[in-house]
């Protein structure tokens, strides 16, 4: 521990220096870059937020924007070539014998499943043969092991070829779910709207009397409460359901009420 303290260069040597361009990120430069960006956006008539790169930028600001995309869609990471289009390496390219010809698999995927089953069965059979060979002639066993290897690799390869198909299949499933959800939501909204409409019609079919001192406070409160219950039913479907079983009582109540008010109306007329 003391040794480390005595020799600080050892500690700093543990990590490499930060990349040289960190010095470019000064407050001045960032502000300058922002003005450039806005100017460019104004010139091109674009939204500032969608701009990733600005062409023809001064030398000292180049580090402030991300590098351009590789032109040929190829680049290197840790000296390993990378490519934008990920291709599944073909069996031939990997130097492995292909057990089913391309056109056998090109058609419907039923054939692929059939092929997979055949390989799976072959694997069992080859294992049995391998065990038998071990008992009789060990020198031929290596060939069998090689056969098994080819079978396994082929199986995995066919499975990986199937991946894009499965991805599409999953997309279809997701879209179907989305569609169902949308339809269910629409139906629920319609149901609540209809209920609210009926409630409104119920309210509209009777006239609300003008304010009169004789009308008891209770009556008014009841009307307000019933109306707000209907309103809350509009936004809260469960609450509306709870109200359902009260519908009969409510109906009777409304009948009584309107009777009472028609008498009052008659008096006023």
């Amino acid at each position: 521990m003391t040794e480390v303290e005595q020799d600080p260069s050892k500690v700093t040597a543990l990590y490499p220096d930060p990349p040289p361009f960190w010095k470019a990120f000064t407050a001045d430069n960032i502000a300058q870059f922002d003005t450039f960006k806005q100017q460019y956006a104004a010139r091109q008539g674009l939204d500032v937020n969608t701009i990733l790169r600005i062409p023809d930028i001064p030398e000292d600001l180049t580090y402030l924007q991300p590098p351009a995309e590789p032109e040929d869609a190829k680049w290197k990471v840790f000296n390993e070539p990378q490519s934008l289009d990920h291709q599944l390496q073909s069996l031939e390219a990997a130097g492995i014998q292909r057990l089913a010809s391309e056109d056998q698999l090109a058609g419907r995927h039923m054939d692929r499943a059939f092929e997979l089953k055949r390989i799976a069965k072959s694997m069992l059979l080859n294992f049995l043969e391998l065990i038998g060979l071990m008992g009789h002639n060990m020198h031929h066993a290596m060939d069998k092991v090689e056969d098994l290897r080819v079978l396994f690799l082929n199986f995995h390869h066919y499975l990986n070829e199937y991946r894009p198909h499965q991805a599409r299949e999953q997309l279809i499933q997701l879209m179907q779910d989305q569609l169902d959800a949308k339809r269910a939501e629409t139906a629920a909204i319609r149901a609540v709207t209809d209920k609210a409409k009926r409630a409104l019609e119920g309210l509209g079919s009777m006239d609300i009397p003008p304010a009169e001192p004789e009308a008891s406070e209770d009556q008014r409160r009841a009307v307000v409460a019933a109306a707000s219950a209907a309103a809350s039913g509009l936004v809260q479907a469960p609450a509306a359901l709870n109200l359902m079983h009260n519908a009969k009582e409510e109906g009777l109540y409304w009948a009584r009420e309107s009777d009472g008010w028609s008498i009052l109306d008659g008096e006023y007329a």
Binding site: R108, H109, A113, L124, L159, Q166, R168, I172, K182, I208
Partner: protein
């Protein structure tokens, strides 16, 4: 638990592992035989013998083999079942693209209907609000 394909891949890898395990079991626990008059079973001490081959009683060895074989068959059946239940075996790529397009359209229609319903709901809500306010004013 992954998707069907991953499950299938895992199952195949397990099958390979079972192959190795079965192989090892037989290699480790078989008994010793002479095939010809020139063969000789080396006369080793039991401890030394144990290091090479741990011979099991014939019956136990048989039972072990049977169990391993049964496991292999079970795994094989599992693999075949998984193959049969791979998603969308009946659909070709063109079918899939068609159904994706159809679904896209249907989702568009459903979304329009939903917006319409929401609009209607808002209208009714506004009307209710009006009525409420009218009642309160009295």
């Amino acid at each position: 638990m992954g998707d069907r394909l991953t499950q299938l891949q895992d199952a195949v890898d397990q099958l390979a592992n079972q192959f190795i395990a079965s192989f090892y079991y037989i290699e480790r626990h078989h008994d010793l035989e002479t095939f010809g008059p020139n063969d000789k079973i080396p006369d080793l001490k039991p401890e030394q013998m144990q290091q090479q081959v741990d011979t099991l009683p014939a019956e136990e060895f048989q039972a072990g083999q049977l169990e391993l074989a049964r496991d292999l068959i079970t795994k094989e059946q599992q693999i075949e079942y998984l193959i049969s239940s791979l998603p969308g075996l009946d659909n070709s790529e063109r079918d899939q693209e068609q159904s994706i397009r159809d679904l896209e359209e249907e989702i568009g229609v459903a979304e329009a209907q939903r917006l319409e319903a929401v609009k209607e709901k808002d209208e009714v809500l506004a009307k209710l609000d009006q009525v409420l306010r009218a009642i309160r004013r009295h």
